[in-house]
């Protein structure tokens, strides 16, 4: 399969790889996918409690190059956005940015799910008050 230059770039130099302290009150963790499906993404956000701005984002992904690139891009995009703004990110934006072929669209869906799961985890921790 031929990969787009942007996928190759994220695969070769993934942004924001790593982990945040998942027990912290200000951190939301999303873990989506399943090993038997060949894709697991963990995406974490650290949110400023005053401003609701995502100050830090980290990811780790088990999956194909497109899955790695989608989650790497997702961390780049959520950083600096408020939680509500981050929820506006759509998988189709990721498809467009990375020029993903139709067979790899599920990778972008998973990345969107990972953002939502991380935010939802953070909201749960903060009793939904920060909505």
């Amino acid at each position: 399969m031929a990969y787009s230059d942007k996928v190759l770039d994220h695969y070769t130099n993934p942004r924001n790889v790593g982990s945040l302290d998942k027990s912290s009150q200000t951190v939301g963790t999303g873990l989506v996918g399943a090993p038997e499906c060949g894709d697991v993404m963990k995406l974490q956000i650290k949110v400023n409690p005053q401003t609701n701005v995502i100050e830090e984002a980290k990811f780790k992904t088990f999956g194909c190059g497109s899955a790695i690139a989608s989650s790497s891009l997702a961390t780049e995009w959520v950083k600096g956005k408020t939680v509500d703004e981050a929820l506006q990110i759509k998988n189709t934006d990721i498809v467009k940015e990375l020029s993903l072929p139709p067979v790899k669209i599920h990778c972008s869906v998973l990345a969107e799910d990972a953002i939502r799961a991380a935010i939802s985890d953070w909201k749960k921790k903060n009793n939904g008050e920060a909505q």
């Binding site: 090993p35 894709d39 088990f62 194909c64 190059g65 067979v103």
Partner: protein
Amino acid sequence: MANDTVPSGIKLPIYMDNHATTRMDPRVLEAMLPYFTESFGNAASRNHEYGWVAEQGVEQSRERIAKLIGASSKEIIFTSGATESDNLAIKGIAEMYREKGNHIITQVTEHKAVLDTCKRLEKHGFRVTYLPVQKDGRIDLDDLKRAMDEKTILVTIMAANNEIGSLQPIREIGALCHEKGVFFHTDAVQAIGKVPFNVIADNVDLASITGHKLYGPKGCGALYVRRKNPRVQLVAQIDGGGHERGMRSGTLNVPGIVGLGKACELAMNEMEQEAKYLSGLRNSLRDHIFAELDEVYINGSTEHRLPGNMNISFAYVEGESLLMGINDIAVSSGSACTSATLEPSYVLKALGAGDDLAHSSIRFGLGRFNTQAEVDYVARRVIDTVKRLRELSPLYEMVKEGIDITKVQWAAEGGH
């Protein structure tokens, strides 16, 4: 990427996918060339020199193939390759012996050329048993014994698997078949020329062969069809001029046939030494990898295995991303992350290894032209890439934290 450290004498990309196809041996090409130009005759032309020369080339090739597998030259039928040979053997037997019975036995890790042919026959009133395989990729002979009944006419089990290199106990399978009066066909494309294979000793009645898996040409194969004890008859699947004793019509591919014969002659002379060489390279690759990486698993049998085959699962690393990282090496992955269904290799699934390990597998197929320097380079690249991807892997991180990931409730929210 990372090609700045390529040792001298190595040409990239390195080809290590010799179960898919092999580079043609220059000696094979040399033998074939005259049959494209000056000796271009039709082997069926009986009235002139051109035809006779072509026919001589064909008959010499028939003898070379027969010699390699312990057959007589009259038992070799030329085809376009193993897919056609498998179709001819299975459909040809089914049609010929339909009155006698309608039951066929095969197994789950066969090549699609066998599985899909069997499925086609099921639509035409045949009953097919698909035997399971054990963890080492081999069938259990007791399962075979139990599956046979008075309606069984054919058992078709491959000699060596193309993904995991497992060698089936064909000699025992053949003996069982002969005891019960059932024909035994084996797709032997991966085994012939790689490991000892003898149709008499191994009790084989039909065997599929192809040129391009043993350093010969593509588009040319053969089917061994036993002439006595028992005599096997087939209904032809391609009608026409009655070539190949009526079993396969069509003008013979003379250059291809000559190439296949030459490839068999070379295999006959060099197989023993080559098998030692290849298992040495294979073991060296394995030892390098095992010395530096934890959580790696060999798929298939360690004992009953093709010398050039190694299929490894690198746990917590997805196969396609690994291939992307070693893009200067031509190998294949059991992972097929190309559709919404994300189905990994059916062969690895059949071993019961779990889909996650199937997604993490790489098949290395070593061949005649690989070198120790290439093996060293490949091992280094694989180790570095796996390490890098494990840094990226949430699964590896969880395992290192002591979490049992088989007990995690995975929320597969990706719509599959």
